[in-house]
């Protein structure tokens, strides 16, 4: 029997335990609570919740609508995102970084802001159309209040998401594969169709799945465009039920939110199945292919890409700014009527808007700060840990973000409807429940860049500290944190930007006194005060732009791909 050696693994155990507690609280607890509500409402196993949900015709209508806009939006996003990715990545187009920056920008803008901007651009009150006297008469229905309107905006919102994934795939395409095909006599277009796109199938599939999940779970766009037309999808149906019925209908909405989760998961599973049908593995790594020379087509294609940017980014934002300067609904904008009153009103006069700015700022800062602090140790275990269960860990952190926000919001409501056991602390109807949901939902946004940061660091740096006598916590503080800090902090800034104008989660969790920017914006728009909503939107978009610029300063210290808008 060998002598027992005193191992000093106390710090490792403590770290692992702490990480496990955080993951259980933020990821597993909400999911389990939701499932319990479905299969065992009130504590006993029964199928009542499911039966009631299935019997309601509203469920079926909303599910149908969800699938229609989900699939439509995904198709549009995949077509546009892939086309732009191919043009930007494989041809000798000029001004590539600027194009990427502008094309990806809508991703950084909250969906409800996108919706508001487009509504303002095409509505009868559009100050932009009025500039040319082209606005339809007041009282005309906005053409965007329709199924195709929702599909169009979902496509615009998530095209960049597809673009990013496909572009990342195209960058890994070894040039030998392209060159071998061209040497075999294929022209560029044939190569694209027979070699490049087939090899990109996994990227395109993954992008489609992600776009589908995002479209299905989106709240802002169908809320702004669908509710006025009484075109309800599952997230907006849940919102309306909760707004009308309160906690009494929570069980019913739990079923609906699980339904969304199931639809989203079905999309991801379909992608898995499709990607396994053939072998798409690329074995070699090498430089990427020489860009295709567009020749005389270059000016035309460049112009069309910039026209696209003008349409999806510049015009809507321009319309938004114009609306925020108009004194009231339907008034034409001239040098005389232009006013900053809307800004003054939302910033200084309106109580709820004031509170919303305050709440959203500190919620975003708290969520970002917490995520950075937690991402470093969690990333350490995932990237460098030897334990087998870390894959599971990674999956469970991804889950609250992969599933639509509505799902997490309902789960949070179920957990905190009653006071926390043993303490009597009540989170329901306070701002803290929103914070909890933000922490759970956005943690992965900081974790992903942190993990890619870890993969870039030579593990020997930590081992050198270890042989120098430093214990785990000392190493984390003095060596590991300083090295992954840029990546983790960039992730934190992404969280801040996302959380600042977040609507999906807070629309279901807010209460009087705990409004967020997204919620107040939404209620302004519903009440017909588009000018105030536009002013708030412009402020958040401006803050987001400034933060993007600040984050760019970190870029030299970051692994590539952390900042989506950087080429």
């Amino acid at each position: 029997m060998p002598t027992r050696i005193r191992e000093s693994r106390g710090q490792e155990m403590a770290l692992t335990a702490a990480v496990a507690v955080v993951i259980v609280l933020l990821s597993l607890l909400p999911m389990l609570r939701l499932v319990k509500e479905i299969v065992a409402p009130g504590g006993t196993l029964s199928a009542i919740a499911i039966e009631t949900g299935l019997r309601s015709p509203a469920t079926w209508v909303a599910t149908w609508h969800t699938l229609v806009v989900g699939i439509g939006g995904t198709l549009l996003a995949v077509l546009s995102g892939t086309l732009v990715a191919v043009l930007v990545s494989l041809t000798d187009i000029r001004g590539r970084s600027a194009l990427v920056l502008c094309y990806v920008m809508p991703l950084m803008i909250a969906p409800q802001v996108t919706a508001l901007a487009w509504l303002q651009l095409f509505g009868p009150a559009s100050p932009f159309l009025k500039l040319f006297g082209a606005a339809p008469p007041l009282g005309t229905k906005n053409p965007l209040y329709s199924t195709s309107g929702i599909i169009l905006l979902l496509g615009v919102q998530y095209g960049p998401l597809v673009f990013l994934l496909v572009r990342a795939g195209l960058r890994k395409l070894p040039r030998e594969l392209v060159e071998a095909a061209r040497a075999g006599g294929a022209n560029w277009f044939t190569v694209l169709i027979t070699i490049v796109l087939p090899l990109m199938t996994p990227s395109i599939m993954a992008a489609s799945a992600l776009a589908f999940v995002s479209c299905v779970g989106n709240f802002g766009i169908p809320a702004f465009l669908g509710i006025p037309a009484n075109y309800l999808v599952l997230p907006t149906l849940i919102y309306q039920k909760l707004a009308g019925g309160g906690p009494a209908v929570l069980g019913e909405t739990a079923f609906l939110s699980v339904l969304i989760g199931v639809i989203a998961m079905a999309g991801i599973l379909a992608q898995e199945v499709m990607s396994r049908r053939r072998d798409y593995r690329i074995s070699s790594t090498s430089l990427s292919a020489e860009p295709y020379e567009l020749g005389r087509w270059r000016p035309v294609i460049q112009a069309s890409l910039w026209l696209l940017i003008l349409l999806v980014l510049v015009l809507p934002l321009f319309g938004l700014v114009l609306t925020s300067l108009v004194p009231g609904y339907g008034i034409a904008l001239t040098a005389k009527t232009a006013t900053l009153d809307n800004y003054r009103f939302v910033l200084f006069e309106h109580d709820a808007a004031n509170r919303a700015f305050f709440n959203s700022f500190w919620l975003s800062i708290a969520a970002a700060f917490f995520a950075v602090i937690v991402a470093v140790p969690v990333g350490y275990l995932i990237a460098w840990g030897k334990q087998r269960w870390v894959r599971l860990l990674n999956l469970s952190v991804e889950l609250p973000y992969a599933l639509p926000g509505v799902v997490l919001a309902i789960a949070s409501l179920l957990i905190f409807l009653r006071p926390i056991p043993f303490t009597g602390i009540q989170l329901y109807n306070t701002v803290w429940i929103i914070l909890y949901a933000y922490l759970a939902r956005f943690l992965v946004l900081a974790l992903r860049p942190t993990i890619s940061g870890y993969h870039q660091i030579d593990r020997a740096l930590e081992e050198a500290a270890q042989v120098a006598g430093a214990g785990l916590f000392t190493r984390l503080r003095t060596i590991v944190f300083p090295l992954v800090a840029p990546a983790a902090i960039a992730g934190g800034l992404l969280i801040f930007m996302t959380a600042l104008s977040e609507l999906t989660v807070s629309a279901l969790l807010w209460s009087s006194g705990s409004e967020t920017i997204g919620v107040v914006m939404f209620s302004f728009e519903q009440g017909g005060d588009s000018n105030y909503a536009a002013a708030m939107s412009v402020i958040t978009v401006a803050v987001t732009f400034v933060l993007m610029l600040v984050t760019n300063l970190l870029a030299p210290h970051l692994p590539s791909g952390v900042l989506p808008w950087r080429d």
């Binding site: 030579d458 050198a464 042989v467 120098a468 090295l483």
Partner: protein
């Protein structure tokens, strides 16, 4: 300073043994090189000694303390070993002085004392005045020295080198080699030096442990490895030894015996107690081969002549062994041409002991 003992150490990953039943005893103050082709398990061996990997079986002792066995493993930070990493592993966010003083800071040493020790360490590696630089602003050789100073400052009981010269250019290698040797002489530290470069190992080490597929192939002094390889792997690995099949004709006498090789008779060196046997192998060096001046030796075909300046490397296939290739150098004037017949002679060789436990 302490001795290091590896006692029947085995390390398995899933279904693959990276290190298999290795026993090495490194004396206090000894410089041991661990040499082997890539994938032979030498890096795993170092990580086992440092404590980054746990042994699957066997025991590792540093001094009189058991640090690893199947009952557990002392954490690397408690082992008091120093490591000079292949890529230096200098922390980019700290200055040179902060890098060197890190272990003192961790040990909560008095600041003034720590500063003096850092100064001393910098002086020891000839880097006075560079304490405020960042590692990024140093040359490769300077970084190597900082890594050395960093591991010395904690006065470790044992220093491990993980292919420390692999990333340096040839010119710098020679001068760093001198520096390592001088450092070992000065400090008297026990050193385990991992390398795949034979010349480096020969130049620096008191003894060399040759590893092959996770096993210890031979542990011996450089001279013994070259002249008396214990098995075919070591014979062919060290200095491209030539292996020839032979039959032992006479029993050992005064360290020599008679063998039949390539249909000629030859007296070779051998271990005590060798007896006549068939199917043996001898190892000879290219220096043992020469063009025969008389009728002795064996015929064959010159396959290639590669002129290398001052001498040519000749590849030769003996008629008695068409599958064999012998290589040797012929100094200028080079008389052999490729495709020609020639007659060579073996001067000497070493009889490889029958397969058995490595010594």
């Amino acid at each position: 300073m302490a001795r290091l003992t590896l006692d029947h150490v085995t390390k398995s990953f899933a279904d693959f043994d990276a290190v298999k039943d290795v026993s090495i005893d490194v004396a206090d103050g000894e410089f041991l090189a661990v040499l082997g082709p890539s994938g032979c398990g030498k890096t795993t061996l170092l990580r086992l000694v440092a404590g980054f990997e746990k042994v699957s079986a066997g025991e590792i002792r540093i001094g009189s303390d058991v640090v690893s066995n199947s009952g557990g493993s002392v954490a690397p930070e408690k082992r008091r070993v120093g490591i000079v990493f292949q890529n230096y592993a200098l922390w980019p966010h700290m200055t040179v002085a902060e890098n060197i003083g890190y272990s003192l800071k961790v040990a909560k040493l008095d600041k003034a004392v720590a500063r003096r020790k850092v100064e001393d360490a910098l002086a020891l590696v000839n880097l006075q005045g560079l304490g405020d630089r960042r590692p990024a602003n140093l040359s490769g050789g300077q970084r190597q020295r900082v890594a050395l100073a960093r591991c010395l400052v904690a006065a470790p009981s044992l220093v491990l080198f993980d292919e420390p010269l692999a990333n340096l250019d040839v010119h710098l290698r020679a001068s760093m080699e001198d520096e390592f040797a001088a450092f070992h002489k000065r400090s008297g530290t026990t050193i385990v030096y991992i390398t795949h470069d034979q010349a480096e190992a020969m130049a620096l080490a008191d003894r060399i442990a040759v590893m092959d597929h996770g096993r210890l192939a031979q542990l011996a002094t450089p001279r013994e490895l070259y002249h008396e390889p214990a098995n075919e792997m070591v014979a062919s690995f060290i200095s491209q030894g030539i292996l020839l099949p032979a039959d032992v004709l006479s029993a050992e006498e005064a360290g020599h015996c008679k063998v039949r090789v390539l249909e000629t008779e030859l007296v070779v060196r051998c271990r005590p107690g060798e007896l006549p046997r068939a199917g043996a192998k001898i190892c000879c060096r290219s220096a043992d081969l020469e063009v025969s001046a008389d009728s002795s030796g064996f015929d064959g075909l010159v396959k290639r002549v590669i002129y290398q300046g001052g001498a040519a490397r000749i590849e030769f296939t003996p008629a008695a062994g068409p599958d064999l290739t012998l290589h040797f150098e012929q100094p200028d004037p080079v008389t052999l041409v490729s495709g020609a017949e020639a007659r060579l002679r073996l001067k000497s060789g070493w009889l490889i002991p029958a397969a058995g436990p490595a010594s």
